[in-house]
Amino acid sequence: MTDSDTLQSSKTKSAGMINTAINILTAPSEAFREIEQRPSKLFPMAVILISTMAVMFWYFTIIDFDWYIDDSLASINLDGDDLENAREAMQSMSQTTFRIIGIVGGPASLLVIWLLQSVYLSLASALNGDRFKFTHWFSLIVWTALPNLLSTIGMAVTIALSPNGQLSAFELDPTTLANLGMQSSNGSMEFVMSSLNLPMFWSITLTVFAYKQWLESSWLKAMSIVLAPYPLIIGVWAYFALA
């Protein structure tokens, strides 16, 4: 293979990735066929993680640090000495430390969630005896997470509109249920509403569609297997959030 062939192959590959990304949002069935044939992971991972890190870096660069500490403490039920101790603990950390935690923490938690989802679907495939392995499921999970990119764009617009750096982390993502109007006077419920966003539901729906398409299963089976962990995850989460 000559250099020009390699360059041509590389360009074709990149164009294919971008095509798959567009298809995930506009024509999912085509995208699932492409992922089944070519279970790539690096491109969607890089797009999601780098964009998330860039937005979080921007957020922690423009944020009014003292205001951010007060705003963060206001969202947790502390008073008296506990509040002062928490404030001192947060003030003892530099803005750079917060920036590092914010930049690394979000992408790291995304990676962990993707891995857990992939391992779960791999185990389900092993029990069913189908042909799909971890590499297919991980690729699918990462690709179906691509709608998160819309959330990231929304966050960037929100940051750009913030005139004074006093922007709450909960107001950052315009696609969360809380920012779409589903606000609650209950603090714990408000936290739940602020943590769920539309791209998350979109991603889960895409995974159900992909499972049905790949395994040619019924809707009921696809939904049962893909959604099975969510009642448990949401139950545990809600228990701690509402406790």
């Binding site: 506009t26 206001a74 819309l150 764009i153 509109l161 004074n164 006093q166 696609t175 920012n179």
Partner: protein, 393 residues
Amino acid sequence: MNAKKLLLIVVFAGMVIALPFINRTVFGTNVKEVNVSILTQRVISPSILASGFLAHEEEVMLSSEVIGKVSELFVEEGDVVTQGSLVLRVDDKNFIAGFEQSEAAVSITAIDIERQEIRIENLKRQFERSESLYERDLIGEEAFEVARNQLDLANIDLLSSRARLAQAKAQLDQVNDQLSKTQIISPIDGVITSLDIKVGETAIASSTNIPGSSLMTIANPASIYTEVLVDEADVANIEVGQRTEIVAIAYPDQPMQGVVRFIANTAKIAQGRQGLSFVVKIDITDPGDVILRPGMSCRAEIFTRQDQEVAAVPIQAILFEEDRAELRSDYFIFVNDDGVARKTKVEVGLSDDEYQELMSEIDADVEIVIGPNQELRHLLEGDRLDATRIETQ
């Protein structure tokens, strides 16, 4: 990519870009809810805090000048006594015996003098007879000299006896004084605030702080006052006659009124403090319902300027900014300019716990942002405000 897919991408992107704008329009998240107030005239009472205790101005600690067992105690702690009343008696048997002995010595010496005076009278007559006989050469010179010598010696003996009498009388006075000191008398009108000895214990004549050296403490309850220690940095602002609010630790909700009566001329290092302090005495003019007990710990707030009305704002409305590089510090307030926060530099004056005087000219109808504190802390120039007018008293 076909047109349909492109259109969908544009729609999705457009929606997420539009969402933050819609959020701001619908929820108005960047408007800050604040309380505002116009400038008011208030009495600012700058003060200095000092701690100390209650004490009696008229207070005496009685001690014995003689050593002896306490034979009688006529008072108990809390009893009211008048000046000159007998409060305690030390066993006086030895002192009475000594008194009688000295009295007898005076009597014996007086009798001696009487006897010597009679003898001198007799010798004087003998000398006059001898002198008459000697002038008529009826006796010799030797006999005449003997008579004169005897008279002279008798006079000297009389002088000696008179000196002994004075000595005996002085000793009697001394013993009498000792005897009188066995009776302890109250030197003032007052109350027994501390009784440190019991019947049967030995009273010791000593100035050192050993058991038995202190008999009791008598104090005039009407003379109670507050003694506080004022830091040397604050003492220049304190003057006699300044109004004071005193709070005894035992009555934290019942402040007493007082007036500064005395400021010490010399500073001292008080126990438990590192810097120099001045003793300031404060008369209690209105104790209210507080039952005053000497020794009570208390805190005094001395108002260093007499009450005058000035233009003032709540102290939390004043924001402080320090530029260490330029060694400059500035004070600011935020005013409500038709729903927009405007940062305004001001000059400030005196302050008390709640309000601070504004020296700068501020129009009477200007609304000043006074709270809440969590919003004021982070308020910025140009922030949009949802202001609620608060009428300060």
